[in-house]
């Protein structure tokens, strides 16, 4: 049984200029102890999709899905109280802006301890010991002293370590990391990623890693989901994705990758992700796609079979190298 199972997830925002579909028809399943990468340019709905799973979207969002289940329990129909026993304890999440994600008014010790207090029956002393242990685990120097530090006294990298310590404090089965390194210095980025992979191996949790960076995907992920303008355009094992991308968008991401990549950012593909109001008819990628035809501009493409990465395209690429 997959840890997390999502079928046909759609998120619609109620905005001043009408409804806006930020995520449409996303399917995914995450198995225990695997790393699932979710890639795509800015605005492709990666964060919104995962926030929907966590139930963290604002009231202006309408979330629908055919199935949204954690370890077989249906999260769509359960009470919010039951949901809160999963959120935080079984599924934890860390965010892109670590400094802003910690509450400036409370100490590190309070914020970690609160998590333990909510989800475990540890005593005060045990919570303290566990907090020190967690900070050690995430490689925080002087863990005992850091417990009484306030967030503004920490650097970005240290804040992210605290966020990670807090997230893994109750041994979650799944950790969702939303671009955990984007806001950090390049040298710190690698350290944090290594830490996440090491923790995943040690604790046996699964990792859903949202990223811009195809290099990170190649190094860490087991499977990859490629999202574009709210649609899931391809889903593959990492090896297959790099050797035989089936969707033209994936192909474009990879083609621009190795030598020509600028910094750690996604390479530039001409054009931008369409936002609210300028979604094209037919295939959402057609204005930027080199293979686009009349058909692409008029007819919404179907999902190709699983052997072709369920590519959302009329003319999938590398069909001769379809996965077995």
């Amino acid at each position: 049984m997959p840890l997390l199972e999502v079928r046909n997830l759609t998120v619609t925002f109620d905005t001043a200029s009408g409804p806006f579909k930020a995520v449409s028809g996303v399917d995914l399943s995450i198995e225990p102890n695997e790393i699932m990468a979710i890639v795509g340019e800015s605005g492709s709905g990666k964060s919104v999709g995962m926030l929907a799973v966590m139930g963290l979207l604002p009231k202006s969002a309408t979330v629908t899905a055919d199935r949204l289940a954690f370890e077989g329990q249906d999260m769509l129909t359960m009470s919010s109280r039951a949901r809160r026993r999963i959120i935080g304890r079984e599924i934890a999440m860390i965010f892109q802006e670590p400094i802003a994600s910690l509450n400036p008014c409370f100490t590190v010790g309070f914020q970690i301890g609160e998590m333990l207090k909510t989800h475990t029956s540890l005593s005060r002393g045990e919570r303290h010991r566990r907090s020190v242990e967690l900070l050690e685990l995430v490689g925080m120097p002087e863990p005992e002293r850091r417990l009484s530090a306030f967030p503004h006294q920490l650097s970005g990298g240290m804040s992210q370590r605290v966020m990670i310590a807090m997230a893994i404090s109750c041994n979650p089965k799944l950790l969702i990391a939303d671009e955990p390194t984007t806001a950090l210095d390049v040298t710190i980025q690698a350290q944090i990623l290594d830490l996440l992979v090491a923790l995943k191996n040690e604790t046996g949790m699964a990792l859903a890693l949202i990223t811009h960076d195809m290099g990170v995907v190649a190094e860490t992920a087991d499977r990859v989901i490629v999202q574009y303008a709210g649609e899931q355009v391809e889903r593959q094992q990492v090896a297959g994705l790099f050797s035989a991308p089936h969707h033209p968008y994936t192909e474009a991401l990879l083609r621009a990758l190795p030598e020509r990549a600028i910094g750690n950012r996604l390479p530039a593909i001409p054009g931008v992700v369409p936002g609210q109001g300028d979604r094209p008819t037919g295939c959402v990628f057609n204005p930027r796609c080199p293979y686009s035809t009349e058909m692409c501009r008029e007819v919404v493409p179907p999902h190709q079979p699983i052997e072709l990465g369920r590519a959302l395209c009329h003319y999938p690429r590398n069909t001769e190298k379809a996965a077995a």
Binding site: R84, R89, M93, F95, P104, F106, E114, H119, F150
Partner: protein, 335 residues
């Protein structure tokens, strides 16, 4: 934190000098010769006039008068009332507990209702609850104090006979003031019903004096909460699986309180002004009524000393608020 404290205390000195200058100068701009007014309809002989003027130092140049006055202030001498002949400071100390008791009740009333109302409005943003609460706050803020007081008196005292119209205590009860606070003294006196009487006398003045601060605090709390509720750390708190009560009441409110505390402090300062009106309406024997009476009697030393003392109180309140602000805001506390 120490440096923060030192600068705040250091700022008090020039402020205080400024206030004393204004109080001193302003009084001298008021029309009416105090000696003539004091002499009343009988008039005064030129010799006697000269004698009194000498006694109060009115014959000397104004700067000499000021520095003399400032020197006395530093020794704790705020002068003497022309009318009662008692030291201004002594009168102030006797009357201040009444004002303090009323102000504390009013601010507690304003905070206890204003903060939760603001939080509720923010959480239910845009709903009927939000609109109702903020509409009410606006009405409360813009209502003329005098009219509002009359409405309350007519309804609760006139029609329902629930509350007394004026004063601090029923004449039935008599006891010596110990602390000057009726709520405490009435309990200490051990007389049955005295405490209830003190409470019932406090209710309407408290509501009248607390209404504007209540409205301001509610609106400020709402806007501070709205800002804070959109912050990343509130999302983190939700992601931790905390109850909505903890997310809003601890993680969000703790941050929203930082600007709200400043607002509360400002309102405490404004209350001194509000007290003048409220005390006059309800014949509340406090500083406000004392000041108004003294102005009508042209009792210079009292008005002058009273202004300075009130300003001093407001400065102390602001200092306390600044300290509190530092205490609730870790970014200032641990710099």
């Amino acid at each position: 934190m120490l440096r923060f404290l030192a600068t705040r205390v250091g700022l008090l000195i020039p402020t205080f000098i400024g206030v004393s200058l204004v109080a001193f100068g302003f009084i001298r701009l008021l029309p009416g010769d105090p000696i003539l007014i004091f002499a009343g309809e009988h008039g005064i002989t030129p010799e006697r006039y000269h004698q009194v003027a000498m006694q109060y130092g009115f014959d000397r140049p104004i700067w000499t008068q000021y520095f003399h006055y400032l020197g006395n202030l530093l020794h704790g001498d705020f002068g003497q009332s022309i009318v009662t002949r008692r030291p201004v400071l002594r009168e102030f100390i006797t009357l201040f507990p009444a004002t303090l008791e009323l102000s504390v009740c009013a601010i507690v009333f304003a905070v206890i209702i204003g903060v939760p109302a603001g939080v509720l409005a923010a959480v239910k943003r845009g709903s009927v609850v939000d609109q109702g609460l903020m509409g009410t706050a606006l009405v409360g803020y813009s209502m003329p104090v005098f009219w509002w007081a009359l409405l309350l008196v007519i309804f609760f005292s006139g029609i329902l006979h629930w509350t007394p119209v004026s004063g601090r205590m029923d004449l039935l009860y008599f006891f010596k003031p110990v602390t000057g606070f009726m709520l405490i003294d009435s309990l200490l006196s051990g007389q049955k019903g005295a405490f209830t009487s003190a409470v019932s006398h406090l209710i309407l003045p408290t509501i009248v004096l607390g209404t504007i601060p209540l409205a301001v605090i509610a609106r400020q709390t709402r806007s501070a909460m709205l800002e804070v509720l959109g912050e990343d750390y509130v999302r983190t708190a939700r992601a931790k699986g905390l109850s909505p009560f903890r997310v809003v009441g601890i993680h969000a409110l703790r941050n929203a309180l930082i600007p709200v505390i400043t607002t509360i402090g400002l309102q405490v300062g404004m209350m001194m002004a509000g007290a003048i009106l409220t005390e006059t309406i309800f014949s509340w024997p406090g500083i406000g009524k004392w000041m108004v009476d003294s102005v009508f009697r042209r009792d210079y030393p009292v008005v002058q000393g009273g202004l300075i003392l009130i300003a001093g109180i407001i400065m102390i309140v602001n200092l306390v608020v600044d300290l509190l602000y530092g205490l609730v805001n870790p970014r200032i506390r641990h710099r």
